[in-house]
């Protein structure tokens, strides 16, 4: 693992998540989202990102977390990720900070469920007294069976 690997951390409800910074293209305010009929339920819709149409994933639905904790305010953001030359956005409640990976204790995903499918989790990190879920972003848009749709 590279020495100076960094994470962007964000919040969904009370949970804190981290994602590799090199996969993050940009972080934008929520633009108008166009609903796509008959799309998978975890896709909120599509947005216009400087002329490209990209999908926005609702992480709560994707991770099977309760919908009712959804916050609607002006710290909501879309984090645009790039995986395999393919861009997509994830909707988050708020973006927190940038962390050095070596600053935290990374542990393998727990065998006991934390309420999120283990295939989305790379590890659990400990920063000070907080727990942070380090995401495996390449699986966010792949299908249930773990087969890449990209």
């Amino acid at each position: 693992m590279a020495v100076d690997q960094q994470l962007v951390t964000f919040r969904l409800g009370t949970e804190e998540f981290g994602i590799e910074i090199i996969k993050v293209q940009e972080i934008i305010r929520i633009p108008p989202i166009t609903r796509v009929p008959q799309a998978p339920s975890y896709i909120d819709g599509v947005i216009n990102l400087r002329g490209n149409v990209i999908s926005v994933v609702n992480l709560r639905r994707r991770f099977g977390l309760p919908d009712d904790t959804q916050e609607e305010n002006d710290v909501n953001r879309i984090v645009v990720l790039k995986e395999n030359k393919h861009e997509f956005g994830i909707r988050v409640d708020a973006v927190q900070e940038v962390l050095q990976l070596q600053d935290m204790d990374l542990e393998a995903p727990p065998s006991v469920s934390v309420g999120i499918d283990a295939s989305f989790i790379r590890g659990i990190g400990k920063v000070d007294d907080r727990l942070l879920i380090f995401l495996r972003q390449e699986n966010i848009l792949s299908t249930e069976e773990g087969v890449e749709t990209v």
Binding site: P31, P32, V46, G51, V53
Partner: protein
């Protein structure tokens, strides 16, 4: 036979770059060759054409040799030999020769495809090469007074001459060998009585400079002067000339110099070249040397790999210095209709077009802001100024967009060119006589359309030759010319391109079509159809009138495939036929796929775009006129029932049956129409097509997206799949 170097092994990036040039150029060359061969069949006496063919084969061979694809070299060499015989009048053009030459183009095309696929070139062409040689041996009269410049097995051996080559000459020699230029050894014999023989020699060299490169002369000019001074009798001198010109050109040029009484021309022995420059031009090709690095079985390889890098440099220098790729060395006498072109990666082009599309959208936003400002400050000069500038910008944008779109335009002739061959082969196989006329080959269409139009067109033309045109006997009996005629033509028509395929054959058997359609249950017993409607039945799925399956029009696949392919491109096809007089297929295709006209519709506050090409009309229907039959809503449209599809239920939106009237957008083709129920019509607009991204895959009813003036994404309806949903009930 030979197993060539696997191009995938070529480690050096430079070589890959050459490979790309080589492939592009050779593929063009082979296409041109194919077309010229067909021309030659019609015009077998045309010496210019034969020369052109010879040159094409020659440069193809040279380039392939340089890259190390010996399998291609073998085949093209044989073809070149054969053409040379024809060129010299030793052979006359027969159908057999044409057949074999066409086969060569097929084989080479296959080989090039293998090269492109990074597979080793494995092609069993030995049999073909043998057949060509046999044909080439069938020479009418063996003439020996002029030495041939081809690599005949039995040319009169050229006198072995020692050329003193300086370093520059060796470099030159190496370069021309690499580019596959022919090197001739010329023996110029002067009148023994002539004075100032050295001056004659210089004059000869000067003249030859226009044709190619004089690599060496023996004896040297200095020595000749010396000999003249000392009055040593010498009536001849020898030259090495690298050129793409024909032997006749060389001869006539030299004969312009007075006192020249005889000239012998022969191909310079390649083994000598290898001795002189340290490489073997064909047997030990560049590509192989570059990749073999140190082949343990070849002790010479160590010395050679250094050479190779200088060659690579020379080669890239050549590429830099010449706009035309290397084997296009048929320059001078080449075609006059060559256009100045550059090759650009399609990705780069597409990103440019994308950006232009963005600018169009952004300008629409500017216009909206301008309008809003005008509403706020009606008399403000600054606002007026902004709006005027917007209008000017709009004009510029239109031009820019058009220019960008033109970059993707390719003449339709690139597709048309394959059909003469198709028709010819068919005629040879069946004994039918058919003349294929092409018109409007220069008509330009979007590259994507061009790429996908080939198969449907092939299908239609096969249908014409197979079912349309009758055999000569039947034609004569019907009082028609023995030779059938198929016309393939393309032209602009408004915002569309029309492609028309017409034949003067027997026309469609409408009676039979009706029968078929009835048995297949495609039409009802008492339906009253016009001739045109009956003819168009053949485009329905599950329809095929061919009683016999031939390998010409294929088996099973019907005209519905053609129709589907064309609809996929946003096009339509129509058919008209007259018994005994022929059939006309008219295809209409959009100019471009990137921008389309669309009708925007509103459903529960959401906006969708319907491609205008599939919209027939819009209606306003009273809710009470909508009936439900077997679970499907129906409305009356001029006496016919029109199945309706509610976009709300389709897209999971709340239904409200309270409305008194609904808007219905009638979409579809001919007698297969459905109505889309929407809340409002928002008008017509040009939209730029965008893909929805792979993660959404193919969603039923949605074909893509676009971005409207306000920056919001709007989905484009896929009328085809929506119709299937309704009509399969």
């Amino acid at each position: 036979m030979s197993l060539d170097k696997d191009p995938g092994n070529m480690g050096m990036p430079d070589v890959e770059e050459f490979l790309e040039f080589y492939l592009l150029d050779s593929q063009e060359q082979i296409e041109r060759l194919g077309a010229s061969i067909l021309d030659l069949e019609r015009d077998s006496e045309n010496i210019g054409l034969i020369n052109e063919l010879f040159r094409s084969a020659h440069s193809l061979k040279g380039a392939s040799g340089t890259m190390g694809f010996t399998a291609i070299v073998e085949v093209t060499h044989a073809a070149e030999d054969l053409l040379d015989k024809v060129r010299q009048g030793k052979l006359t053009v027969t159908h057999e020769i044409i057949d074999v030459l066409l086969e060569v183009t097929d084989v080479v095309k296959d080989m090039l495809a293998q090269v492109e696929a990074q597979k080793p070139v494995r092609h069993d062409a030995e049999d073909l090469v043998k057949r060509i040689c046999r044909l080439a041996k069938g020479v009418i009269t063996e003439t020996t007074d002029i030495q041939t410049m081809s690599e005949d097995p039995d040319p009169e051996p050229a006198p072995r001459v020692e050329f003193a080559l300086d370093e520059n000459a060796i470099m030159d020699l190496r370069e021309v060998t690499l580019f596959g230029q022919a090197i001739y050894q010329l023996t110029v014999i002067l009148d023994e009585q002539a004075l100032m023989k050295t001056v004659r020699a210089v004059m000869v060299i000067q003249r030859l400079q226009d044709l190619g490169k004089v690599l060496a002369i023996s004896p040297s000019i200095e020595n000749m002067e010396l000999m003249e001074e000392e009055e040593i009798s010498n009536d001849r001198f020898y030259l090495l000339l690298a050129t793409d010109e024909r032997e006749e050109e060389i001869l006539s040029e030299i004969y312009m110099v007075s006192d020249v009484i005889d000239i012998h021309v022969s191909i310079f022995d390649s083994s000598e070249i290898s001795q002189l420059i340290g490489i073997e031009p064909l047997e030990q090709p560049l590509a192989e040397k570059l990749s073999t690095e140190m082949d343990s079985s070849k002790e010479t390889a160590r010395g050679v790999s250094h050479e190779a890098s200088t060659e690579t440099e020379a080669y890239s220098k050549f590429l830099r210095d010449n706009v035309q790729p290397p084997s296009g060395g048929d320059g001078g006498g080449g075609k006059s209709d060559q256009v100045h072109t550059i090759r650009v990666d399609t990705d780069r082009m597409d990103s440019l077009i994308n950006m232009v599309g963005e600018m169009v959208i952004t300008r629409a936003r500017l216009v909206k802001i301008g309008d809003d400002l005008r509403g706020k400050f009606p008399m403000d000069a600054l606002v007026n100024n902004l709006n005027e500038t917007n209008i000017y910008l709009g004009r510029l944008m239109n031009d820019l967009q058009e220019s960008a779109m033109r970059l993707r335009m390719v003449p339709v002739g690139t597709v048309f060119s394959r059909y003469p061959r198709l028709v010819r082969d068919f005629c040879r196989k069946t004994g039918k006589k058919i003349d294929l006329e092409l018109h409007g080959e220069e008509t330009e269409m979007d590259k994507t359309v061009i790429e996908q139009i080939g198969d449907p067109l092939t299908h239609l033309i096969r249908n014409c030759v197979d079912h349309g045109i009758e055999d000569p006997g039947t034609r004569l009996a019907a009082g028609k010319s023995e030779i059938g005629k198929i016309i393939l033509k393309a032209y602009h028509e408004g915002n569309h391109i029309a492609i028309v395929i017409s034949d003067d054959g027997d026309g469609l058997d409408l009676q039979k079509i009706m029968q078929k359609a009835l048995t297949a249950g495609l039409i009802g017993e008492n339906e009253d159809l016009s001739e045109r409607e009956i003819a168009n039945l053949i485009f329905l799925p599950g329809f095929s009138t061919a009683d016999q399956i031939t390998d010409i029009s294929g088996r099973g696949v019907g005209m519905d495939v053609v129709k589907r392919a064309l609809s996929g491109l946003g096009g339509t096809v129509d058919i008209r036929t007259k018994a005994g007089e022929g059939t006309v297929f008219t295809i209409k295709l959009p100019l471009t796929l990137a921008i389309i006209q669309a009708l925007l519709v509103g459903v529960c506050g959401e906006i969708y775009a319907v491609p205008l090409s599939s919209v027939q009309e819009t209606l306003r229907v009273q809710n009470e006129d909508v009936r439900t039959v077997g679970g499907i809503k129906m409305a009356k449209l001029r006496g016919n029932t029109l199945p309706l599809l509610s976009l709300k239920s389709q897209f999971g939106l709340p239904e409200d049956d309270e409305k008194e009237t609904v808007f219905v957008v009638v979409v579809g083709v001919m007698d297969r129409l459905i109505g889309l129920m929407v809340d409002e019509l928002k008008g017509q607009q040009e939209i730029v097509l965008k893909t929805l991204g792979d993660d959404l895959g193919s969603l039923p009813g949605i074909s893509g997206a676009t971005i409207l003036g306000d920056g919001k994404v709007t989905l484009i309806l896929d009328v085809g799949t929506l119709m299937q949903d309704v009509l399969t009930y």
